[in-house]
């Protein structure tokens, strides 16, 4: 297993390098640069000022030189500074990553816990009224766009039934506290989790139904095992394998962020940072974000593969 992990980590290095080259190249083709972001078309801009900005940002250099400079700097652990306001990129990403991990992580946790539980529940009651109701709701959960859910949820639970605040991560003017953060986190995390609940519920239900009809499950029942043991030990563990894959596919959202929810709830996360970076053509920030995100995705894929070995004892890595 150790050799496998080391081998995967080594393979990831050229993959990461390739990703940075591709992103850098694609970005070079987008019209506009950070200097053109500074120009507000509705205000009279001094072109001399723009030229100075372009030179200060190194935008007058050829592309290979700009990439080499960025790579050299990154290899020393310095992700550089934002072109928009000079903020250190590593610091900005770290702040936003925490906010996104908190929101998306909470939503994902709720989604996994509730989704798997409901998936098992509906699988064991196939074709019952509960099965139809919950399966129907899962279609709604999967289909409902996040921005509609967010706006609707904010309107209902913040104004009509004033249970939650109207956005932000904390109450302005109050000293930071876990209670206050949880109070602000509750509504966006719950709304975001609805999509995850729907996905995991459907996946678990489908997997459970497949496994429930396997011969070894029939054998376990024939042996007189208690139903709870049949479900929890013999059925669920096997049914979880595809669910692990789905969890692995959704984990990157912890780092990529959820633009719509972050925008609606004024949650300063990675999603809105990404959007801001592209809109302002903040090249160093885009490269930094992609490097961090790509690294996280590759590590998560590795962790998902390792998780398979724990869930399915038939799988061995050498």
């Amino acid at each position: 297993m150790t050799q496998y992990i080391l081998r995967r980590l080594l393979i990831n290095l050229p993959v990461l390098l390739g990703i940075t080259v591709i992103v850098f190249s694609l970005f070079a083709f987008i019209p506009g640069d950070p200097a053109s972001f500074y120009i507000n078309p509705e205000l009279a801009t001094n072109p001399v000022q723009v030229a100075v900005i372009r030179e200060q940002l190194g935008l007058d250099q050829p592309l290979p030189i700009r990439y080499a400079r960025w790579l050299g700097q990154t290899l020393t652990g310095n992700l550089g500074y934002r072109t928009k306001n000079g903020d250190p990129i590593a610091f900005v990403i770290w702040l936003r990553l925490q906010a996104t991990a908190l929101l998306a992580g909470t939503a994902l946790f709720i989604g996994i816990a509730v989704g798997i539980a409901l998936g098992v529940f509906t699988a064991l009651r196939q074709y019952s009224l509960w099965d139809y109701i919950l399966s129907g709701l899962s279609f709604v959960g999967v289909s409902m766009p996040a921005f509609i859910l967010g706006i609707f949820g904010l309107y209902i639970f913040s104004i009509q039934i004033p249970l939650f605040p109207a956005g932000g991560m904390s109450t302005v003017g109050q000293a930071p506290s876990w209670e206050d953060t949880l109070y602000h986190l509750a509504l966006p995390a719950l709304l975001l989790s609805l999509g995850y609940i729907a996905v995991f519920m459907r996946q678990t239900r489908f997997s459970m139904l497949e496994v429930l009809h396997q011969d070894y499950v029939r054998t376990a029942r024939a042996k007189g095992l208690h139903e709870s043991r049949v479900i929890n030990v013999h059925t669920l563990r096997n049914a979880l394998l595809p669910v692990v894959t789905t969890v692995g596919l959704n984990l990157p959202s912890l780092f990529v962020g959820t633009v719509f929810m972050e925008t609606i709830f004024s949650w300063p996360g990675m999603g809105t940072l990404y959007l801001d970076a592209v809109q302002s053509r903040d090249f160093p920030l885009i490269m930094g974000l992609n490097l961090v995100t790509a690294t996280m995705v590759l590590l998560i894929n590795l962790m998902t593969d390792i998780a398979y070995a724990f869930v399915d004892p038939r799988i061995h890595y050498t």
Binding site: I30, P31, D87, I159, A166, T263, S266, Q279
Partner: protein, 377 residues
């Protein structure tokens, strides 16, 4: 010259100089004297620990979330009544309006449709004013088709601007005869180009316009209202045989291409011209174009002469007369297809007292007395 007197030395006479001082700020020499001026714009000092002459000062700054300001006890007009003035960041207008309605904030910018709704609610007070941003269609005179004034006039006659202001902007805009949003600059005898598609078709026919021609119209506007306005313009022009296709771009992409003067024939854009701002950059700026002509490729000595005459006037009366002459010339020759000036709104809770807000600089009273603002229970 002394602690209360500053002397400005200019290279040339500039009667408009006093009006340009609205963009000048007093900075603390004792803090910034050793700072490289070229690096000032990126300095975090302005956000984290600025020193200013305004009514409030920074108390707390939580990045990407809010700025908490407290009264500046040394403010020249007296210490403000408010204990805290908090500037919260909302990425989405709807979220800000919900926070206003919930009472979490007491003021926000709102769009015209929201302002119309809140105006009838006694819990809110709505402020409105000109944005001093002229929306217009700029012609690229490098495209020979637009060198004929009849084509430009036809485009003006073809668009029912009143209907667009009423139905798309819900009345939150006013028509303008030239791309100068101050009404004092409009002479009384301008042509308002009232909607007349028959006349538009006649002018296009006289000019030899080919109805099979298709053009792109570039814009950086992404707000839905502006998109709707541009699509309405597209429909009106199609009725008279001018086929345009909107090309929506984000601001950096637009800036990278538009200012070269190449690749476009028409553009729907805005020009911010508050009091004191000269229209010169929007009419004549040429530093970024490939051929060193104005953005629009316009080469009009008469226009430049009228602008120079106005800006060299030594008193306001002559300045206004000069700008009126400029406006008339722009209007008759449709130098730009001047459309409308947007109105902008702010909404505050009725619990906020002695508060004044005006959307654009130079459009309201000289003093908005922030030291008197207060929120009553």
């Amino acid at each position: 010259m002394d602690p209360l007197t500053v002397q400005f030395s200019l290279k040339a006479t500039d009667p408009r100089f006093p009006y340009k001082l609205i963009a000048a700020y007093i900075l603390p020499q004792h803090i910034l004297k050793d700072q490289d001026p070229s690096k000032l714009a990126k300095s975090d000092w302005f956000l984290a620990s600025p020193v200013g002459t305004g009514p409030f000062k920074i108390f707390k700054y939580v990045k990407d979330q809010y700025q908490d300001l407290v009264p500046n006890e040394y403010y020249w007009n007296g210490k403000p009544k408010l204990a805290h003035l908090i500037n919260r960041y909302f990425a989405d207008e709807t979220a800000a309006i919900i926070a206003l309605e919930k009472g979490e904030i007491q003021f926000t910018y709102v769009s015209g449709d929201v302002a119309a709704r809140l105006k009838t609610n006694p819990n809110y007070q709505v402020f409105e004013g000109s944005s001093f941003v002229s929306n217009y269609i700029i012609f690229n005179f490098r495209d020979k088709r637009f060198q004929d004034v009849r084509v430009r006039q036809a485009i003006m006659y073809a668009i029912d601007r009143k209907a667009i202001v009423k139905d798309v902007f819900l009345g939150a805009a006013y028509l303008e005869p030239c791309t100068l949003p101050q009404k004092t600059f409009w002479p009384s005898d301008v042509n308002w180009y009232d909607y007349n598609p028959t006349k538009a078709q006649q002018l296009l026919k006289e000019a030899g316009w080919n109805p099979n021609d298709s053009l792109e119209i570039w814009t950086y506007y992404t707000a839905q209202q502006q998109k709707d306005a541009l699509q309405a313009i597209q429909a009106y022009l199609a009725q008279v045989g001018v086929k345009i296709t909107p090309k929506f771009m984000d601001t950096p992409a637009y800036n990278a291409q538009f200012y070269t003067g190449q690749g476009w024939s028409l553009s729907y854009r805005g020009a911010g011209l508050p009091t004191g701002q000269s229209p010169r950059p929007f009419l004549l700026a040429s530093a970024q174009t490939v051929d060193k002509k104005a953005w629009s490729g316009l080469d009009d000595p008469k226009l430049e002469q009228l602008l120079n005459t106005a800006e060299k006037s030594l008193n306001d009366t002559d300045y206004v007369k000069g700008m009126q002459a400029l406006c008339k010339y722009m209007n008759e020759n449709v130098i730009e297809a001047s459309l409308w000036v947007g109105t902008r709104y702010g909404a505050a809770s009725s619990k906020v007292k002695n508060f004044y807000y005006y959307p654009a600089p130079g459009g309201g009273p000289y003093e908005d007395n922030p030291e008197l603002w207060e929120v009553v229970p």
